[in-house]
Structure formats: structure tokens, C-alpha cells
Symmetry: C2
Subunit: 290 residues, 2 copies
């Protein structure tokens, strides 16, 4: 059984849900695990809400990580990068580190550059919502969700075992992927959908006709939903996964340009084939997803 | 209190849900209304399932409409157009007609061209699902949903009153719109989302990597959902609302091209502004939608 003093940095949707889940587990377990929870956040209101979830709450990163055995960085990607650099200075002897950032290539490169005493692994739980922040956090957010883990030059057996135990506690399903592969995949199934949904939202809002919303139904609601994503998180994603996102956007543009041409030409036969194929793709995805 | 012999043509999601809802109302009402329900469908399995919902079931349109006071056409748009022409021949003295088609300009023009004895109004319930067919039908599908009504040259007080009563029974909210305005609005909030979601589905499926589905979460699922829409229904929509759909596609393409350029340029300031504005648009829509 692992024992650890855990520090969660950033009490948003991901960090908050993790804290809720771990606190719940800690209370029902015979041997409390983690033994000690520290929460670091810079928002005073969030810190106050965090008090019941942690043994220590602080707005000071240096204080929060001083005694941590496992540091979990649950902030936007570029803040993770910044905090990893700080951690190398604050804890030169090393500690264990996991992050929950949305892109993994830059973060895993930064992890690999940590001093040799560190044990670090990249993480990305696939359970976003369009509503961010601690107020949207729930203890069961991770349950049965895929949790991508990215090994890098500082990944030790110890951090891997510790994190797999953590995932078992919150009920997540680990999936090991190289950072590059992860970033290409999320460009296709997360970042592209965001840009697509955001552009749709802007197009509809640009009509400046409130009757649109009365007429709109679940189709628009679902297609546009992720356009509500936190802009700060999204900016970091688009800035750190630019190449893969642009590649997917190019593939997408080719697809939508082709179907637009079929509509414009009134090419009924080819358009019908496109529609049938698209529905087939959707059903195949739903079947594989289960 | 209105009495009517109602014939529902096409027992898919819309027609089926209407039949379920009316049958339920008929059974609990002190004065049964509608007094008589006939269902017309060409699928033998569907007709068998329809038996408990109707007094008469038939695969023959001519038989089904022979004695109807109100004919409800619940088929894809171009089948509605075809059936309206047949109806003019089968019932030259006229009857009352409502349709549930997804585009309204062509249908309302065809209604206006019916013989003078007809009372006709265009309808479009805003409560689609990506799963079509009678098997997805539910008696509460229309409850609290917007039901667009389009007056035309054959709209009489009688058909309007009858249909408003029908909407009250199924719990839908009527919204009167001119056919052209309806078609422009649904191009923006229904047909564009379909093309957008379909192109996304094709782009992701084109990766031909099943690990994508393991990594994908609710964001992809919701953004891609309407790509499962019935191809036959969608083909009729795109063929009968081509101009408005192409106009929305053009506006959308301009939007996504602009944000792609910001990502490509790494223009952090403008990209951040775009992300913030997009989230604002989404929240404003959610607030207005309630």
C-alpha cells in the first residue's frame, strides 16, 4: 500500500474533481491514503472552498510543494511548464510529479529535463466539460474515463506505480501513449471539435437574431457545446499543439469544402453517398466506443 | 372541442412520436380526440408495430387519406411535396393538411397551389434526434419544444385552430414564421451544424485509428452527434434549402478560415480575444435559451 503526501496545484474542474475523489477515498479507507493533501490555488474564494478537502491550503506554490512526495499540476499547459521549471529550483533533490495538462509533448520534454532525482509522468484525463472551475467539479468525474499517461525521460517505476494506484482510486482507465501520438490524437478528437464548434457558435451568433435560439434545439446545443470551453486553457492548447491542430484543420477544410461543392452542384447521387458514408462512420464510432 | 379523423403518413421519429402522444391523450380524455387515427406507412414491420396506435393501418396512401379530415404528412420533404400533389388528385374537394417537413419554402408553395377546398399549414417541430425511425419515438418528444408553423395561401382559420389544439395536446409551443425566414433560420441552427458535424466525423474516421475512440470523450461525442442523422431526410433538406445552406456555409468558412490564420500566425493576442468572444457568445446563447 502506497502512502504519500500529495499536493494538488490548481483547483479547477480537473484538480477539484481529483481532490474531491481522493478526500472521499481517504475518509472511507481503513488506511488513509493519501496520508496528507495540500491544495495550492491563487483564487481566494476557491481556497476557502478547498479547506474541507485538504489538510493544508495555500496560495504559495513554494510552501505547497515544500514537503510534497507527489505534486499534481492541474493547471493550463503553459502554467504547468512554468511550474515544472520552478519545481526544479524549489526541490533540487527531486520529488514525484504528475500533470493533467491537455497537450503532452512540451510538458514531457520539460519533465525529461528535470534534475535526476525527479520521477515524472505526463497525464491527461479524457473527461472535460464545457463548464470549467471548481464549481463544476464532481468526485466521480474520472470514473470509467480514459486517463492517458505519457512516459518520458524522468518516468520511474515508482511514479508509474503511484499514479496507477491513484487512477484505481478515482476509477479511471490508464492508457499509455507516446506524447507525440497523444497530441496528434487529441488534435483530431478534441482540439479540432473545439475550433469547429467555436466557429459554428460565432457564425450563428453573428446572425444577431434572438429568434434563432427559440428555433434551435438539441442539435445546435450539442454541436456548439464545447465552444463554452475556458479560453485560457484553450489558448495554451492551441499554442502548444499548433502543428497537429493545423494539420487536422487542413483535413477538415478539405472535407467540408468537398461536401459544399456537392451541395452547390446539386449532385444528388454523390451527395447521397456522402451522407450515407457519414452516418456509417458515426454508427461505427458509436459501436466501437460502446 | 374539436373532433377529427386524423391520418398520419410516415411513422418515423416525428410521426411515430405524434401517434404515441395522440393515442395516449385519446385514452385519458373524457371525449376521445382525435376520434379516429389512421396510420400510413410503407414498411411492413412498422405497420405491425403501429397497430396498437391506430384504428386503421395501411400501406396505401389513397386508402389512408380517403376519409381523413386532417392529414399529417410526416415524411422527408420531397416525399411531402409528392404526396401533396397526390392528395390534390385523391381529394379534389379538399381536406385539412399539416406537414412536419424540415424545410418549409417549397412545401408552403405546394400547399398554396392546392385546390381551394383545402386548409393547409406548414409545420416543423424542433425536436430532432440523430436516431431516426419509429423505434426512437417517444410520446413526450414534443413536450415544451418549439413547433414552427408557416402560414401560406391555403391556411384557413379552421386548420390553424385545429393544429393549435393538436400542439396543446402534445405540449409543443407554436411559433409562427414566414417559410423563407424559417428556412434561413434552420440553415444556421440545424443544417449548418449537420454539415459541420458530418465533416468532423469524416475527418476523424479518416484517421483510420481505432485508438482515437478510446481517447475520445464527451466533447467529440456531442460535437459529432448529429452526423448520425438519417441520410434520406438530410438529402431532401440540402436539396430544398440549398441557397440558405450555402450562404451559412460561406459565413462559417470565413469564420473558421480566420481562426485558422490566427493559430497559424501564432497571434496570441487576437487568438485569445477570439476565444473569449466565442465563450461569451456561447454563454449568451445558453442564457437566452434558458
Amino acid at each position: 500500500m502506497l502512502q504519500a503526501k500529495v499536493t494538488i496545484v490548481g483547483l479547477g474542474l480537473m484538480g477539484g474533481s481529483l481532490a474531491l475523489s481522493l478526500r472521499l477515498a481517504q475518509r472511507v479507507a481503513r488506511t488513509p491514503y493519501p496520508t496528507h493533501i495540500t491544495i495550492v490555488d491563487t483564487n481566494p474564494a476557491t481556497l476557502q472552498a478547498a479547506e474541507r478537502l485538504a489538510d493544508v491550503v495555500t496560495s504559495d506554490f513554494a510552501v505547497g510543494v515544500a514537503e510534497a512526495e507527489l505534486v499534481i499540476l492541474a493547471t493550463p499547459v503553459r502554467t504547468v511548464l512554468h511550474l515544472l521549471a520552478e519545481l526544479a529550483v524549489l526541490r533540487p533533490e527531486g520529488c514525484m510529479v504528475l500533470d493533467l495538462g491537455s497537450t503532452k509533448r512540451d510538458i514531457c520534454a520539460a519533465m525529461a529535463a528535470l534534475p535526476t532525482g525527479f520521477g515524472a509522468i505526463g497525464g491527461h484525463p479524457m473527461c472535460g466539460k464545457e463548464t470549467a472551475g471548481f464549481s463544476s467539479a464532481t468526485p466521480d468525474l474520472y470514473r470509467d474515463k480514459t486517463f492517458v499517461l505519457c512516459r518520458n525521460g524522468r518516468t520511474t517505476e515508482q511514479i508509474e506505480t503511484l499514479v496507477l494506484n491513484l487512477l484505481a482510486i478515482v476509477g479511471a482507465q490508464p492508457l499509455f501513449l507516446p506524447p507525440d501520438v497523444h497530441d496528434e490524437m487529441v488534435a483530431a478528437i478534441s482540439h479540432l471539435p473545439y475550433v469547429v464548434a467555436g466557429s459554428l457558435m460565432r457564425t450563428a451568433a453573428g446572425m444577431a437574431d434572438d429568434r434563432l435560439w427559440t428555433v434551435s434545439a438539441s442539435g445546435f446545443r450539442d454541436t456548439a457545446r464545447v465552444s463554452g470551453t475556458d479560453p485560457r486553457m484553450m489558448l495554451d492548447i492551441l499554442m502548444t499543439n499548433k502543428t497537429a491542430v493545423l494539420q487536422q484543420l487542413q483535413r477538415y477544410q478539405a472535407e467540408i469544402t468537398a461536401v459544399t461543392a456537392l451541395i452547390e452542384a446539386g449532385d444528388e447521387e454523390k451527395l447521397a453517398a456522402w451522407l450515407v458514408e457519414t452516418q456509417k462512420d458515426y454508427f461505427a464510432y458509436r459501436e466501437k466506443k460502446g
